[in-house]
Symmetry: C2
Subunit: 245 residues, 2 copies
Amino acid sequence: MNTRVRGQNLTYSIANHIGTAIVTGVYSKDNPIPIEADLSKEFGASRPVLREAVKMLTAKGLLSARPRRGTWVQPESHWNLLDPDVLGWLLQRKFSTALLIEFTELRLAVEPAAAMLAARTAGAAEKAALSAAIERMQAAERGDDDPLESDIAFHVAVLQASRNRFYAQLTGFTATALRFSIRMTNRYKGVRLASVAVHKKVSDAILAGKSAAAGEAMRRLIQEALRIMKKRHAESAARKGTPEA
Amino acid sequence: MNTRVRGQNLTYSIANHIGTAIVTGVYSKDNPIPIEADLSKEFGASRPVLREAVKMLTAKGLLSARPRRGTWVQPESHWNLLDPDVLGWLLQRKFSTALLIEFTELRLAVEPAAAMLAARTAGAAEKAALSAAIERMQAAERGDDDPLESDIAFHVAVLQASRNRFYAQLTGFTATALRFSIRMTNRYKGVRLASVAVHKKVSDAILAGKSAAAGEAMRRLIQEALRIMKKRHAESAARKGTPEA
DNA sequence: ACCGCAATATTATAATATAAATACGATTAT
DNA sequence: ATAATCGTATTTATATTATAATATTGCGGT
């Protein structure tokens, strides 16, 4: 149980285990999360270590505890979904197209706005990062760079260029979304090649300080990705709905 | 030091103290955060308790620790600003108009999009909540309800009606933003009263399923709030810039 | 000057004891 | 019979202490 793959120490390893178990719905009313003492036995760890792991998860809104009542899982609405760890656990083990769609709906709001801000406030360094990302995408188009990573670099550059700390916070989420969306829109290549031009349109507008154009271009870009996801989602739902068709 | 006002127990109380100290910039290169042993002395708490508090803060991206290297504050870019606690600490003790503006810029992206989604997907219960919030605002207009709380109820209702878990996550943030923005736009009772009509426009569009109209109405609403904030911000910046004028 | 090793500081883990909080049940009074 | 109160048991909260692991720093040798 204490493989310690990630985070390198027992506390983090246990927090990851329990965190994953919680978000994947292992615990329920019939199967509540065990008390501190039992958990520490289960993981073969001391109580202090286990308590630290539990405290980390309460800090992320997943757990709560009281004397005599024990430890319990918070309702899902209380989970801090925007915490990178929580989101990672959720997507890693319970990947669902529905979640990815919800996620992309948030990106559809955030990234065009970030592009608009970026067009107004981006400095030299941020513009350089943006240009570099576009060049990487063009290189990827020729097979000289990684399409996914260059794509991520572009979206991150836009968010950073907004010079807004809250948008900048979302870089991790966009990166996560893109990494997972590749599972869905697997053929990346055909779609991606065409979209380099669209990405460049965003970049050009930001570099030229054209706020509205930048926002609109970004909106189209993500809207198109969302459209494909929804189509796929509907198809797979139809397959499940009529298994013998 | 162990007043235990919030969270009721020592661990949370210490996490709050240290968390607040971190985000308000108490610790720096010259004044690094003390090591575990010294911190536990400082707060008069046992080491396990202090370690739990530190682990909660590492879970929120504020701290990191290694054997022999000690404990250190993570760079600001690493802080989980979207964590309600972190944001609360930041605004409570280091309230700045700049931060509120950045925050509202995010709302300007998110809430119109949520309104658009809501117009398409809101169910009966969500629509009822929305109508109730509008009625509360109208009551507040007559002095029969609290203007701030009814305003919050409205924005929360829209986010919830989007039926998107990530938008729903942001209800706490919008509530926080509104509570703090009243400090700034406090004397603008006139503006507030007039805006009930604008809020109702959003609500009507959502209830009628008019997505684009709902989004546009919400965008205008927040854009106006943002405009006022920026004006104030510029004014106070000017005052500071020319103290003897 | 550079490489390696040892000393040392600090967190990580463990074991254990005591205190506080609270849910539940029993008992008593109305 | 029902409600209220009190006691008991369970679980987390806090404290103490010891040992292990880890990584930095400096020293010493080459």
